[in-house]
Symmetry: C2
DNA sequence: CCTTATGCATAATAAACTTAGGTATATATT
DNA sequence: AATATATACCTAAGTTTATTATGCATAAGG
């Protein structure tokens, strides 16, 4: 990703969260979605994304569906049942992490 | 640190922030402070902390002051002038990161 | 024709961490 | 007396996770 080294570890959770929201997405779409949602601040590199997707698939959290659109290959990824359960856990963990970080960095912030 | 792989990249900033607040701290104190502030959620491992401190020192952001308390060695670290300036930058970057993450993970949160 | 965008992927490298080990003193427990 | 726990420093080896660089291929715009 672009913005320094802060994002390590959270990429998988971000992917799971997006797939949970969107139903199914393909790799390139994920990079663009994250870029848009963060106004260009987070740029997922392909060298990080595709290995991450493959790993999540190997772990049984994602299913793949290949499609051909405009003569171009697309691999749609979607959550398996196990993936949906895991998404809940990882999101909770990430949210807790964010709260901890906030508390360390800026205890004046309050979250609603 | 203990809680998974989420904290990567933010350790240096956390150290700088704490030293900015506390004036001077020694290594063990930092681990305990972070543990306390996060109610045990973030546990900085020594294998991460000491190399980080030495690197920050090598970068000219920290100064060291050795003291002997109760027959035990303590190395107090404190920000240099360059360290104070850098702390401002890194904190701003980390806060921006936290906002981005929040926006991705839970857009319903508002920050005050 | 060449660049930009779309779409996939991997290999080499670098950074940041965990795990495991080491040294040493002080205090509390069995 | 022996052992565990807490304090206090440190490093080496290995893992994870990312970046950078590269490759293949199609489509659209200049």
């Amino acid at each position: 990703m672009s913005n320094s080294k802060l994002y390590k570890g959270s990429l998988n959770t971000i992917i799971l969260k997006l797939l949970d929201e969107q139903g199914k997405m393909y790799g390139y779409e994920i990079t663009q979605k994250v870029k848009a949602l963060t106004k260009g601040e987070l740029q997922i590199t392909e060298g990080a994304l595709y290995p991450a997707l493959h790993k999540l698939e190997a772990e049984g959290l994602l299913d793949v569906e290949v499609a051909k659109v405009d003569n171009r290959l697309r691999k749609y990824y979607m959550l398996t049942e196990a993936g949906e359960k895991e998404t809940v856990n990882r999101l909770a963990e990430l949210e807790e992490f964010i709260r901890s970080m906030q508390n360390l960095v800026n205890p004046n912030w309050s979250i609603n």
